[in-house]
Structure formats: C-alpha cells, structure tokens
Subunit: 258 residues, 2 copies
DNA sequence: GAGTGGTCTAGACCACTGA
DNA sequence: CAGTGGTCTAGACCACTCA
C-alpha cells in the first residue's frame, strides 16, 4: 500500500450512517474534477493503477468506480490506452412511462376506463408495418378511453400480436385495461417510444372533450419480447392536461415522472 | 470448486470473437428465465452462493451479473433476504436529447441559426421560478431560431444564469448557438426535462412558418451544476416535423434519437 | 514490450433480514 | 442464529494499444 493514501481520505468518517462505499467516494471525486473543469472532455484521467496508489484501495474498487462512470457516459474507457472524459454529445434523460392506471391513481384521482372497441382480425398492411409482423399475422385491435375523476385522460389505440398472446382473445378488458394486463402477463425485452405533437382530429377531440385541432401529446410504443413484437400502442393525451417529466443526473440514477 | 459446473458451461466456446464474459452469460440466463415466465414478478431467485455452485464461478462474478440486472430494474435485491424479480411498474426509456446543430446535421440537412434577441437583465419573478434562482439574480435571455435547410426547425428561448456563467454576457452567439457553446463550456450534473404539446401562438406560428394553433412539441429543460442552476431552455418544435424517439432494452443500454 | 482496461478468483468482513 | 447481499482485497491472466 505504498505511502499514505495521499490527501483525500475523504469524508468516510464524517459520521454518515453507513460510511459511503469507497468506490462511491472515488467516483464522486472524479466527477467533481470533471465538473469543476479541471478535467475537460478528451482529457485522459489517471490509470487504474495510479488511482490504486492515490486512494489506497485495490484495483477492483477503482475499477468499479470507473466502470460506473463509464456506464453513465461521463467517461470513455479504452483498453490499451486509458480512460478519457467523454465529450457530452447529448443530454440523456430517463423517461419513466408508467402504467396509466398507476399514473392516474398516483395523482390522487379516481381511475376508470372503457373499452370503445375490440376487434380480432388479420393485420392490415398498415398494422403489419406498425407491429413489424409478417403477412398473415392476425391482431387484436383495441380502442380504450381512460378517465381520471371522470374527465377523459387519454385515448389508447392498441394492437396485440395474437400469435404471441392468444389468451388476449378471450379477455374482455373491462375489469383491467389491456396495458396493465399485458405488463403483468408478458415481460418485454425491448421497447421503442416515439413522442410527438399532433392536432386532435374531430373524433379525438370529441372523445377527449377538446376543441378540434387542440394540441395533443402522442406517445407510440412498440414492445418486443426477444425480437418478436408483442404489442403496439398509441396514446393520445390532451396537451394541456399532461406532461412528461424526467430528471436525470449522470451520477445517481434518478428519475421522476408525472 | 465442488463438482463439475453443472450443465450450462454455456456458449463460451462457440467461437465468438472474444468469448462472452461469464457474468454476461449468467445475466442472460437469468433474464431468459424471467422472460420465459419461469420466474414471475415477486419470485425469489437463487442466492449468490447457489449460483456460484450452479455456474462454477466465483461470487464476485455472480454478484456482477445480479447487480447489473438490479441496475436495469429487472431485479430487486434486498440484503438479508434475497433477490426478487421486480414487478415492472413502468416502462423506462432513455431519451437522448442532442445538441440541435448536431441533430440537424446528422439528418443530412444544412444547419443555420439566427439570434432573434439577447437581453441581460435582472430576472423577473417568472424567470426566477423557471431557473430556481433567488431574488437579485440576473439572467441573459436569448431567443434563437434554428433552421434545417432554410426551413425553421425549432425556436429556442433560453435563460442563462449570469452569476454562474458571466462570460456568456460577452458572447454574441452568431457563430455558435448558445446551447452548443454551453454544452462545451459548462458540465452539468443534473437536468430536468418536461415534454408537452402546445398550440402555436400567433408569434410562434409566424416564426416557425405554421398555421396559428398548429400542434407543437415543447421541451423544457433546466440544467444544474451541483445544485446551482445553469440554464433553462424552452424548445418549440413544429409537431409535424419532429419527433422524439427512444429505444430501450433492459439488458443492453441502447437508445436512438432523432 | 510496457502499460492499459476487462475479467476472474478465493478468500474476507460487514449490515441486514428472518425465523 | 444462519443466510443474504454489499463491499473489499491481493493477487492473476488476457486482449488490446501505442511507442
């Protein structure tokens, strides 16, 4: 362990309940050097062995600190050459998209939904494109309206891949909305979200109790299970009654949604 | 090392370039058991020591596999009791929000911007609220219009905390838009995004070359550096010309934006 | 070839949960 | 109490990069 751990024995003994793990200390120290501008994008940071000396810990511990910094995109690590401060190319944020029932109830309002239509049929060309399933596939198409305290909250337009979830055909979805049911029923491995703003069509406006052409937030999501499409859903929220919020810090995975 | 590693020596020797790390093997195996429905939300998965036996690896390796599953939210780990399959409460997705110049050029279009106005002044009450700075703070308020191939692409309305970034006052931002400059200049530690749909005001519509009341996607972002607000920006995109897209798989951090 | 990061091991001590 | 996960160590071998 060479000489003494050089300067920052850090605030471990500052009577935190359980002292911070050493790797968190180290991670924060490096973060701070980046945030302060001492280390700029592209700069090389000390190698693992140097940090082992500097902090008096084992290499695994340093590695854990650096790996977690790399995982959050603050560092680029290159085997054979070193670790470098990443140049921030984008703001990343974690969007947490909740189940609608959960979302409504979390805001203290009463949840209710109604199934507007439910049709099992061969997928149209358009639907095959949305779900990315081959020809001959059949789908269950559902339209659902969700309410919060009796006010229309969101319109749901959903396709379910019947080949993968045949039980869906026997469900009526009047107790539990299809999204909630599917979430419990089928674990997903991949999801793709698209978010955009659209003007309410006459029909949408009527169902959501809006003026025609009112701005709406549209979220489209396609969900796969190991490459097989499970479901595709289009959610239309009244623009003035809903927002997506996400908070993100590269250090500690935080996020809040509403 | 007890008896032989039980069954799955896995596909390590299946002539992949570099064989998969063992912890990835193990992570995938457990993922598969969750995806297949064999393990359902709330179920307890084998303890680390059992997995050590089952896979014939050291405990650190098992720990790495399980920790990464916990990090992506597939598992809940509780010291003293065990690891459990998480009940998916939300769809999480990583939204990658790029610098506007980068975004436009990535789509193969020519980028251009113009500064519509630039004012340094004491923050109004409203602005103090947006930026969450105390009274007496002063801000640089900027309005910028961004173009893609000479078509209006997005309107930017930005406040910069002058106390933190005084150099901003001397910048004219006609070479480089303020967002790009700030991103390089000030590293951020926290960001909050709000996304909603709004109708274009008369002024917005004129600037973006839209009908009045056209649906627009509005992204608001506040950025902090260790608790101090850096900048707040409001971006208004024409709803029919822009969408946010994000792809996410819990296993391997992927995401795509446009 | 020296230095880097990626992975792995076989131990260890601890804090916490549950019976 | 025995079992769990969280952390840590002091080694090790490897693939890779760069001078």
């Amino acid at each position: 362990m060479a000489s003494l751990p050089a300067g920052s024995v850090t605030a471990r003994d500052a009577k935190t309940r359980t002292p911070l793990p050493r790797y968190v200390d180290i991670r924060r120290a490096i973060e701070a050097r980046i945030m302060s501008g001492e280390l700029k994008p592209g700069d090389r940071i000390p190698g693992e062995l140097e940090l082992v000396d500097a902090y008096g810990v084992s290499r695994m511990t340093v590695n854990k600190a650096l790996s977690s910094l790399a995982a959050t995109g603050l560092l680029i690590r290159r085997r054979g050459s070193g670790s470098f401060v990443a140049s921030p190319k984008s703001q990343e944020t974690v969007l947490e998209i909740h189940d609608i029932k959960f979302e409504v109830e979390a805001s203290g309002r009463r949840y209710r939904h109604e199934v507007l239509s439910s049709t099992a049929r061969a997928a149209t060309a358009d639907e095959r494109a949305r779900l990315a399933i081959g020809g001959g596939g059949s789908v269950l198409a559902l339209a659902v309206r969700h309410f919060a305290d009796n006010q229309p909250f969101v319109l749901e337009d959903r396709l379910i891949n019947v080949a993968l979830v045949p039980e869906a055909l026997t469900m009526r979805f009047d107790e539990e909305p299809p999204g909630t049911w599917l979430l419990k029923r089928i674990p997903w491995t991949e999801a793709e979200h698209r978010i955009r703003a659209v003007s309410a069509s006459a029909k949408t406006a009527a169902l959501l109790d809006l003026r025609r052409n009112a701005a709406c937030l549209m979220i489209e999501r396609v969900t796969w299970q190991s490459g097989t499409p499970v479901t595709s859903v289009q959610l239309i929220y009244p623009g003035d009654r809903h927002e997506l919020a996400a908070r993100f810090s590269p250090a500690g995975k935080t996020s809040r949604s509403r």
